[in-house]
Assembly symmetry: C2
Homo-oligomer: 110 residues x 2
C-alpha cells in the first residue's frame, strides 16, 4: 500500500495533476511529459519523483529513454481512505433528513 500522505501530497499540485491526466491517455517519456510545461526538465523530474513516491506512477528505463505510466497503489490508497469520508457524509445527510422529517411531523401536530 502506498504512503497515503505522499499520495495526497502528490495530488495537491496542478502540474503533477496535469502529468497524471496526460498519463491517463497512455505511457509517455519524461521528455514528452515535460513538453507542455514551461518548466525545466529537472523540475519535471522532481515532480515525477513525488508522483512515484505517492504510488501514482511507475517508471521504467528503455535504453536512454525513461517511460512513465500510471500506477495503481496510490489511487487505491487514496480511494480506500476517501470511502470513510463518503460514508460519513451520507450518514450526516441521513441524520439531517430524519431531523427535518421529525420537524415536519411536529409541525403537522400543531
Amino acid at each position: 500500500m502506498a504512503n497515503i500522505d505522499s499520495a495526497f501530497l502528490a495530488l495537491a499540485d496542478p502540474i503533477r495533476r496535469a502529468i497524471l491526466a496526460r498519463l491517463a491517455k497512455g505511457e509517455a517519456t519524461v521528455l514528452e511529459l515535460a513538453e507542455p510545461f514551461s518548466v525545466t526538465q529537472p523540475a519535471i523530474s522532481r515532480h515525477l519523483k513525488i508522483l512515484e513516491k505517492g504510488g501514482l506512477i511507475a517508471r521504467r528505463a528503455e535504453g536512454t529513454k525513461r517511460h512513465c505510466r500510471l500506477a495503481k497503489p496510490g489511487l487505491e490508497a487514496v480511494d480506500k481512505w476517501l470511502a470513510t469520508l463518503r460514508t460519513g457524509l451520507e450518514k450526516s445527510y441521513q441524520r439531517l433528513d430524519s431531523v427535518l422529517a421529525e420537524m415536519e411531523v411536529k409541525k403537522g401536530h400543531k
Copy 2:
C-alpha cells in the same frame, strides 16, 4: 467547487485525516476534536482552517462553542478529479490485456 489544490493538501496530513474520520461519525466541537491529540488548540484551529479552505469541513458558532461537520464540496472536487485517473488506469489495463492476448495468439501460431 472547492479549490482542488487546497482539498488534496488538506488530506495530506494524518492529524487532519483523523479529524475528518472523527467528523465522519458526527458533528463535534473544536474542543472535542482537539482532545485525542497531544497538540495545542491553536494547532488544531490551524488544521481546521486548512480543512475548511479545502471545502472538507464547515464550521458554525453556537454561543461560545464552535461546531464542525463534514462538508461536501471538497470531497466532490477530489472525487471528480480522481475519476480521470480511474478511467486512465482501466484503459491502461485494457491495453495491457490486449497486448498479452495478442502475444498469446502469436505464440499459438508458432
